[in-house]
Amino acid sequence: MFILRKLIFFLGITCFVIGGCKTNLAQQDAGSDSPTHNAAKEVYREGNSVRFPAIGISVELGTPYLWRDWQPTVGNPGPDGGSPLYVSFNFLITNSSESHQEMAWVVYVKDADNVLRELRFTDRSQMPLNSMSIAPDKAVTIELVAHNGPYLPIGNMASLHLELSVNNKYHVEQHTTPVIVNQTM
């Protein structure tokens, strides 16, 4: 009987560990570029879209716009006289479930040397915007603007690296294709 209990406990631990590893593997897979999903079918990702079928959430990422401003006069100018990197970024969140879903994000800009820098996003009225509750059966376009990027040279390429989570339970990483750093005057 004791041996049987130890055997059941051992099998349980083994299953727990294997299950946990599978979940981690699935999340890492979601960060790759090829269409994939985790073994538990909790996260799908293809191109610029991410879906959480279990909770009815899908996210469509827009193409970010990166720029630095030289209009006289800019705040916090860099050595070249231009502003820090500004980022404008949209994405569409669709909640097809019958309950509210809490979507949160952390966004980094990744330069050509793969250096990551976290961006502080606000809406266009400068209200910090890092999460949003999406009503049932609703689609919401999130417009984000950040002004605290690095002083990347004009013409360089950079991409955004996103960490998305739903209800603080489902997590996925996604990144955009690199875009050029523009200049405004």
Partner: protein, 746 residues
Amino acid sequence: MKTLVLVVSMVVCFLFFMPLHTVSADPYRWNTIRIGVKSVHDTEQGEGVKVAVIDEGVIRCNHYELILSGPCSTYSAGNTYFPYYSDHGTHVATTIAGDKWSGGTTSSTQFVGVAPDAEILGYNYLGTYSGRMPLNAQDIFISHAYRAGARVVNMSYSPTAAGELFHSWSNERMYLLIPKYSNMVFVRAAGNDGLNLSAQYYWSTASGASQHPDTDLKNLIIVGAVDRNMNIASWSNRPGNDCFRRWNGSSWATSCKGRDAFKHFFVVAPGVDIVAGCDQSTTHYCTMSGTSMAAPHVTGVVALLQGHWPVLLSRAGSVANIIFHTAQDLGAPGVDAVYGWGLVRADRAMSPLGERYLNKNGKVYALSSSRLRVSSALAVLSPERIAFFDEYDRDFQIPLASFAPSYDGILNRWIKSEDTPDQSSTNIPDGFSYTVSADHYDPSHPRLSDLDFNLSYQARDGLGWDFGQGKIIRHLDTAESLTFGLMANNNNLSGTYPVGSIANGGAYGFVHQPLGELFSLTSGILSNTTFTSAVEDRNYAPGADALVLSLKRTSQNRRLSGQITATYLTEEDGVLGTGGSGGLHFTDGFNSNAITLGTRYQVDADYSLSTSFTKAFSRGATVSDGLLSLESNELTSTAFALGLEKQRWITDTDQLKFSISQPLRVDGGHMTLTHGDFYDADGMLHNRKVDIDLGASGRQIDYQLQYSTSLKKNRDLGLFAYYAQDYLHRDNHHDYGIGVRLRGTY
């Protein structure tokens, strides 16, 4: 087959998208095309207008785009921070006032500035690299520009804080300067932070400031940027829903009042990938993006407005209103939080806006109530132009020819005409009959005057009478060959009753009385006092009444007839069909007496000739309180017509009509045209006076030909052609047209 479909599809797609393709593919002028500048340049390029440009560094005034345009200078007032040529300032200045150089390069030949003849007054205010002038330097620059005569200033710069239009109120000089220089238009770039503008706390130390931003800042225009597809640039600041917050006596308002919201000061202009002159050499061009590039488009349009209408130099608020109210609405309908009023449009800004009026010596006549109409008898007036004004006292020229009889569309009317008009005719026993016609009746705009009717009686002894409303010509005893084509319309001043026809179109009554076997007498009255007085109704004719008495004799064999017709015409307002009211009133009770001699000869059963000659004498009292005044109180005029009608000419069913005629023409006399011409920069009205010799330079002769024949299967073929020599009695001024009509009944 597939290839054919593909080719056809490509052609269709190319044709369909060609205009868009043309705009988007032109990197040098898509921006000016989008805002409608090119069509304006034919009449206005901003000559004599001074434009202040406060910017960073020194504008390269020796850039070829600027040196060949209006004058250009840069004033630094001791700015040692950035004493160098500036690409930013040069780009802004050339966008406003470049365009005079075509040095052989693609850039120089293709580039188009908004107001090429404007003078640039550059002010070196900022230096991005190493500091900037104190805030109150703007006072010095704007004061200098104002004294130099500039009434518009371009400010393609913004505070350092993201999303702010101006600095915090305690540091901001603009709240002093904008109300203080209320005759100056301030054009401000919205900023490139990609944000909604954040609330500004407004308090002005300017003398007389009301502390109400919507009135104190009425001369401020904020400019955002759009791309070539007219979408807001992602980096452009937007007006959002916030505003200039008022001080309510104890605290700042927490909500927006009236039209204080930024969106009511906001327009957009092209600001993405704008090509203009740059600083590295006198022939250097570069591409830039930003609201700094959008603002000079608006500044240039302001210069065009000020150049064309000097009165606007002292009415900056009006200029801003014109820019706002003529903008092309983008985004959500109406003034919205992203595009404000919409895209600035030079072509629309240069067009009349609001209530329109005529002016003479300060006396105002609403254009809409001036039923101006120039008759062909006095068509010599038609080359003259008069000025009308819009709500902002801007003058626009309008040719009197616009109101002269027009042959335009006559072919179209003939092609659509029915042989059997939309009418019902009923015969009643004992010689009575009535006809109702709805030819001109529009059910969507029902008017009694458009419903023609006629009640007639014909006794066995020859006595008859007609009573009704509408065109009377076809009911009169007249030669058919003189009343077709042009003359069958309202221009029939060369037919059998050229003077009586002026009163044609309203109520009428006629009596036909045989006098023995060979004579008959026709007497009648016409009155065109119709119920039509719609605004600017081209068909409206001023009130006129006519008495007609016609004696006719027919030969024994009935082949020859002659008639003498006396006509008495009294016109309520006008002479010989030249009429109007309000600003164009020029006579006070004008009477005309006319004698018309007519003959008709029936050569054979199918062939007849008709002639008509009219001499009219007009006299009346003249008044001079209108724009037009007649200096000659007696006029003589003549008209004639010669017609031929032939049936069964080539086939058994064809018919030929031909006529040569001269519409009523005044032999001589004088008129004076006096009207307000324009307001100068001080708001003073300048008048224009023109003496007009009514002795026409030419004599209009109309040649008309109409042929019709029946074909098989209920089809008929028609041909109509006309040629008007010395059209409108103007020498070497011709009009002509030809039409072919094939109709069938199924």
